[in-house]
């Protein structure tokens, strides 16, 4: 009869968990002495399925890798294929792709507002932000036909041109969201209780962040200026003018501030894109999908999603199907080993809060 710590399962069926995963907490009081994450509840064996699909069929699967933010996945697949094949992308397509990526970032930020506040018990912000997110999804729907899964960015360009007057509608939504940002500021960032909850919680300092390979906002929140869009510019990011916000706090609050600043940057980026959007073709025609083969070779392509760096390793063996597709999700490190480390010593009340601030997203971990 030895003294046992209490086991508390957070997830898979739990209102506080992000997606479908599980964190097994060992508690002493309500302090966590050990945390163990378990993933795999969402394993669909995409990478296996892709070995059986041809290059165009693969494209439809890509968006399903990560549900909250599918477009970067499509984008990196398209770019990986282009890199192996050496296919050129028209300039206008690049602009549209960048715009789609940034719109996806915006909607993902809004979803993150919802998660971060929902886990802290401020239920008004989720209601607002998920509601506002619908405006961006409307734009997607108009552009691509789908709200969540777009299947829009394909190798060689994009699937459709912008509808008429789309730019003005995008700008309108941008104006609206920028206006709403003030509301979120009042509700969330100026709220002393939110600050009290977020400050000093879930600290990942600079040394630890680099050691564990943290990416995205958590890395920037501890003062490392790292952003794939700047470090390794893709699409037209090198032609755009934006900054990479950083903070020094390294806690949940710093991450929130970083994301807030990035949110503003995204709006400005979209405005710049619409300003500079050239005319022209939107795709280079791909061959008959059944006969479409790629030369033997590999590519590793990365992009910056809201949760951080995502990457795709694509290996072609010269046939009409990929030999191997391997996706590196942004949360791959955050949600498994890092989370186990960060949660130790924290309070039960902060688990969901920290998970949201790290941007854990199980579907891209287990694929």
């Amino acid at each position: 009869m030895r003294e046992k710590t209490t086991t508390l399962y957070l997830g898979p069926q739990h209102p506080g968990i992000t997606g479908n995963m599980m964190v097994k907490l060992s508690l002493k009081g309500d302090t966590i002495v050990k945390a163990k994450t378990e993933v795999g509840y969402l394993h669909r064996a995409f990478e296996k399925l892709l070995e059986k699909r041809n290059w165009l069929q693969c494209f439809t699967v890509m968006c399903r890798f990560c549900v909250p933010e599918p477009d970067p996945m499509e984008n990196i697949y398209a770019r990986a294929v282009e890199e192996i094949e050496g296919r050129e992308v028209p300039e206008r397509a690049k602009y549209i792709r960048t715009m789609v990526l940034e719109l996806a970032r915006l909607q993902s930020f809004l979803l993150w507002y919802a998660g971060q506040n929902g886990s802290a018990g401020l239920y008004t912000v989720p209601q607002w932000s998920v509601g506002d997110r619908n405006y961006i999804l409307d734009l997607f729907e108009e552009l691509t036909g789908g709200r969540i899964y777009h299947m829009y960015t394909w190798p060689g360009g994009v699937r459709r041109d912008l509808p008429e007057g789309f730019e003005s509608r995008v700008l309108k939504v941008m104006d609206y969201i920028e206006k709403r940002q003030e509301d979120y500021d009042r509700m969330m960032f100026d709220n002393s209780i939110f600050q009290k909850r977020a400050q000093g919680v879930g600290i990942i300092n600079k040394e630890k962040a680099i050691e564990w390979g943290v990416v995205g906002a958590p890395l920037r929140a501890c003062g490392v200026k790292s952003d794939i869009r700047i470090d390794e510019p893709y699409e037209i990011y090198d032609k755009l003018d934006f900054i990479v916000p950083t903070q020094e706090g390294a806690d949940v609050w710093a991450r929130a501030l970083v994301r807030r600043a990035e949110f503003k940057q995204s709006i400005s980026i979209i405005r710049q894109i619409i300003d500079k959007m050239p005319k022209g073709e939107i795709y280079n025609k791909v061959p008959n999908p059944q006969k479409w083969t790629l030369p033997k070779g590999n590519a590793y392509v990365r992009a910056e999603a809201v949760r951080g760096e995502i990457g795709m390793f694509l290996q072609s063996d010269g046939g009409n199907k990929p030999r191997r597709v391997h996706v590196r999700g942004a949360a791959y490190v955050h949600a498994v080993s890092l989370l186990e480390d960060v949660l130790v010593g924290q309070n039960v009340s902060d688990v969901s809060f920290i998970m949201n601030s790290l941007g854990t997203c199980p579907p891209e971990i287990e694929r």
């Binding site: 009869m1 739990h14 097994k24």
Partner: protein, 613 residues
């Protein structure tokens, strides 16, 4: 023959007989234990009035008579004593040296009776010493591990006794008499220095037994390490001897009315005792320790009630003292039953005995409800009177402190019930059975008693009021069977409250039981909503470690006292009272001496200027 003497004789004869009988037969011993335990009860309640008994021995006049206040405590002694003895038969079964144990048990019961009936200081002191030593022998009954605890206990008791002896000698030199009454009368005429010194010495002596704030160090360990059958009496009754003495000193010497600040200090000490002991109680992991700290806290209320000294607060104090005797005896019996049946009293290990020991649970629940002061049980009556009297006598900040500790008491009350009886069921305790009948009877007896006294507190309040009107110097103290009235003239009818509570409870309980009876099913605690995960055998779903961690974090400054006390040096102790108390656990006798001296100095400093107002 005088019935008082008979009672005394029964106890002392029981002590000898049981020791002798133990040599021959266990059955005979048990029979004697039960007889000698129950006879005084019959005797006590069958005799309407006790005559005084006076004799002269070795040049001292000894005068025995049961005062009206002592009557209440004597009732507690015989009832709780008898119940504990009956309980002990089952509880102590299979232990060694039982004759020795029972002998000391009877000796302490007899000595308590003696204390209560002593009207002279000599026999009072002698009985006091017998009580101290007999209880000490039981404290160290459980083997050498308890030696240090016993040492602390006997050290404090001895200091208290010497203080008392000094006071008695001083009284004798001043008045030339050894009678309490002569002392009470002569006290008013003494010089204020003597008044002060004698009061302090007496309060010191009684405060040790009543586990008053700075003198409570021994209590938690001693209560928790003596056999539970005795602790029921030890914490329930023996500590009340200190309360009895304090009541005599505070009220009879008119300390309250004459030395306002002095009584304030004691009242605040009581309140601080209550608050600190409560917050220490709720971080304990051993149920005996929890109950021990809880006893200290409850004694804090009682001391406050007595020290404030208005009619109502005094009544509340004595009422709480009696009730504490009842429910704490019941709770220690529960702890004993759990220890006996489950083999441990560690709340980190115990779990979910409710289905195994339902009757024990009911006892525990009723006693805990009484302890927490939740209507309709008796604790509420005492708490209510205490609050009303404190507010009525303008002790509004005292009432906040008391209320804080009483609210925090819910925490350890719940901890106690949860820690033993609730939570996740475990294979380890599958074999546990309900406590044996002989243990259940006293427990259920207290359960019934607590329920009755909750609705009809007059059973206790009557004698208390009687004592206050006759002998304690209060005038016109009113009481009613089940109506409480405060100083503002507002009253509450306890019978109405009890009726409403019971009726509403029964209505909804029936509703819950009967509605959809077919679809209502019991499932084991292994079938919990575990976030969708199947319950795995290797995991532990019982929440026990650091139960009140959030509370500890919120109250970190208060707990920090304790932490700094461990590492603090002696100079810190001089600065802070609380920091200093921690040193006492060091087991270093010298520290204790410093400490006791310091306490006296502080009391002197506090009271000297004020007493001469």
């Amino acid at each position: 023959m005088n019935s008082l003497v008979i009672m005394l004789l029964i106890y002392f004869a029981g002590a000898i007989l049981v020791y002798a009988a133990n040599k021959f037969s266990a059955v005979l011993r048990d029979v004697i234990v039960v007889l000698a335990g129950l006879l005084p009860v019959a005797l006590f309640f069958s005799i309407p009035a006790f005559e005084a008994f006076q004799f002269r021995i070795a040049g001292f006049d000894l005068f025995w008579d049961l005062g009206s206040l002592a009557y209440i405590f004597e009732a507690l002694v015989v009832v709780v004593g008898a119940a504990s003895l009956v309980y002990a038969i089952s509880y102590m079964k299979g232990k060694k040296n039982l004759g020795y144990f029972y002998m000391n048990f009877f000796l302490s019961l007899g000595s308590m009776t003696g204390i209560l009936m002593s009207q002279d200081l000599i026999s009072f002191f002698i009985f006091w010493e017998i009580m101290t030593w007999s209880s000490y022998f039981i404290v160290v009954f459980n083997g050498y591990k308890t030696n240090k605890i016993g040492l602390t206990y006997i050290f404090f008791s001895a200091l208290g006794a010497y203080a008392m002896l000094t006071a008695i000698v001083m009284i004798n030199t001043q008045t030339g008499s050894t009678m309490w009454n002569d002392f009470f009368i002569a006290f008013a005429g003494m010089s204020s220095h003597y008044q002060l010194l004698i009061s302090i010495l007496f309060i010191f002596g009684f405060g040790v037994k009543a586990a008053m704030m700075p003198l409570h160090i021994w209590a938690a360990d001693a209560y928790s390490h003596s056999p539970m059958a005795y602790t029921a009496t030890f914490s329930g009754v023996l500590s009340k001897m200190g309360v009895y003495g304090l009541a005599l000193v505070m009220i009879k010497l008119a300390l309250v009315s004459n030395h306002f600040v002095f009584s304030q200090v004691i009242a605040w000490l009581g309140a601080v005792t209550a608050a600190l002991a409560t917050i220490y109680a709720l971080i304990q992991k051993d149920i005996r320790k929890l109950l021990a700290y809880s006893s200290v806290a409850q004694l804090g209320y009682i001391i406050t009630g007595i020290a404030v000294g208005t009619a109502m607060s005094f009544m509340a104090g004595i009422y709480l003292a009696v009730l504490h005797g009842l429910f704490k005896a019941a709770l220690f019996m529960v702890a004993g039953a759990v220890e006996k049946q489950a083999g441990t009293t560690d709340m980190h290990k115990l779990r979910a005995l409710i289905r195994k020991m339902p009757l024990t649970f009911i006892t525990a629940m009723v006693a805990i409800i009484a302890l927490a002061g939740i209507p309709p049980l008796g604790g509420f009556v005492g708490k209510w009177m205490l609050y009303e009297s404190l507010i009525g006598s303008n002790h509004y900040f005292l009432v906040i402190v008391i209320f804080f500790s009483s609210t925090a008491a819910f925490l350890y009350a719940y901890r106690f019930l949860y820690g033993i009886f609730l939570g996740q069921e475990e294979e380890e305790f599958a074999h546990v059975k309900e406590a044996p009948l002989m243990m259940l009877i006293p427990m259920l007896f207290f359960t019934v008693l607590l329920i009755v006294t909750g609705t009809f507190p007059g059973i206790i309040l009557g004698p208390v009021a009687n004592a206050m009107n006759h002998g304690m110097g209060f005038r016109g103290v009113q009481w009613e069977m089940s109506v409480l009235t405060n100083v503002y003239g507002d009253s509450i009818h306890l019978s109405v409250i009890s009726t409403i509570v019971v009726v509403v409870f029964i209505v909804f309980a029936l509703f819950l039981i009967l509605k959809g009876r077919k679809g209502t099913r019991y499932v084991t605690t292994k079938d919990i909503a575990n976030s969708g995960e199947p319950v795995r055998p290797e995991d532990n779903y019982h929440f026990a470690l650091d139960f009140y961690k959030p509370f500890e974090r919120a109250m970190a400054p208060l707990y920090r006292f304790k932490m700094s006390e461990i590492y603090g040096n002696i100079s810190d102790g001089l600065v802070s009272f609380f920091q200093f108390t921690r040193r006492l656990y060091s087991g270093n006798g010298q520290t204790y001496v410093y400490y006791v001296l310091l306490f006296i100095v502080i009391l002197l400093v506090f009271s000297n200027q004020l007493i001469n107002r």
